[in-house]
Symmetry: C2
Subunit: 234 residues, 2 copies
């Protein structure tokens, strides 16, 4: 670790009910922090952790507009008025800061590169922390799988292109952290997914066929979510 | 990471039903691996992951005899006959290799130092990976808490001494990985627990009083577990 110029404080946090991962990242030098994909039900936990670690939240970021849980960004901003919400520019929801392809979100001496990875939703964004060789892929890429493409502007063809051009093109040893996992996995690498992803190692045609035949039930919280986003920031 | 002589492959794995963490550690150079606290229900998942990562399991290790879930060590050994089970020498259960204070468990070019941390059970062992500045604390130390002390040779007085002498004495920046978490936390540090552990920052007398008054229900799986350990290796 001593070769890294700017140390990172990283905490992977889990919401059991929706199997959602939230990530707390802080610059070890300046203590400026971001939360990626905070969950409304866990805001009290996350606020306490920020305080205990002595870090200062500058951004509450979302990889996308969530259908399966309600973001905690709005509630975090109520508690920490200096904190700004961040969202992909094509998400179609309210935020303080919209980010597009190749833009950087800075916290302290560290920066997250934004890569547009639509296909699960139009606004899906993968955040890459090059200095620490890792990326936060949201629902675009899950461990051995991917997010569904059958609602919220989903498109298997677009998702396939996104993952191959924006995530699988990263160096093979980069760690990948997803927004969800349902089997108890917490992290993967580009190399692992290139070899073992059950869907994205297929041809584009095969992938589209798989995704068009998943026959998944409608997300439990989608209705609740839509009501909330119409009246408050996500 | 480039300053580390022997790279580590680390995977934190979760069993949702019992909120148990299993750790896969492998030497990045030789690909020899260990699993700490494997869960019976997850053995198929873990075997697949070992295969996908191209690593070779040499030890199935337990931090202690578990009351809240059934270890996967026996089933792993059936699938991988070269693998040996490892357990603290005072655990009172069967294993291939018993480890005592200051012994090392080697996998490839890496080694886990064994520290005896009784108090939750007599045989509780904390495994320290000095080269990567981390320790696996089992149920002796949990994030902001600790394992219960009201059955299986539990003793709050002994646990207090174990944690203070064997875990809190590690360098402050060492990462600590517990065997369970119930609030979605995945990792902590010695420094964090020295400052914020809700029980172990108290005096020994206060700690004993807290632990003697938890009034917890009897573990659901304790009966099942005892039946199994009498007839098979844990």
């Amino acid at each position: 670790m001593s070769s890294v110029k700017n140390p990172l404080i990283l905490r992977q946090l889990f919401h059991k009910e929706t199997s959602t991962y939230t990530y707390l990242l802080a610059c070890g030098n300046t203590k400026e922090a971001v939360l990626i994909d905070p969950v409304l039900d866990c805001v009290e936990r996350d606020l306490k952790l920020l305080q205990e670690l002595g870090v200062h939240l500058v951004y509450g970021m979302n990889t996308h507009v969530h259908a399966d849980h309600i973001t905690g960004t709005g509630k975090l901003k109520e508690a920490l008025p200096d904190c700004k919400s961040v969202l992909g520019s094509k998400s179609g929801a309210r935020a303080d800061v919209y980010v597009a392809q190749d833009e950087n979100v800075k916290f302290g001496n560290l920066a997250l590169e934004c890569r547009s990875t639509p296909g699960h939703t139009n606004g899906c964004t993968t955040y890459v922390l090059h200095e620490h060789e890792m990326a936060f892929t949201g629902d675009a890429l899950l461990i051995r799988g991917c997010g569904r493409t059958d609602f919220q502007q989903g498109s298997p063809s677009v998702l396939f292109e996104s993952v191959h051009s924006q995530i699988f093109s990263l160096p093979k040893h980069y760690k990948l952290y997803p927004a969800h996992d349902y089997k108890g996995f917490s992290v993967t690498t580009v190399e692992e997914e290139l070899a073992h992803n059950t869907r994205l190692t297929k041809t584009k045609e095969e992938f589209i066929k798989i995704m068009d035949n998943l026959n998944l039930p409608y997300p439990k919280r989608l209705g609740k979510f839509c009501k909330i986003t119409s009246s408050r920031e996500i």
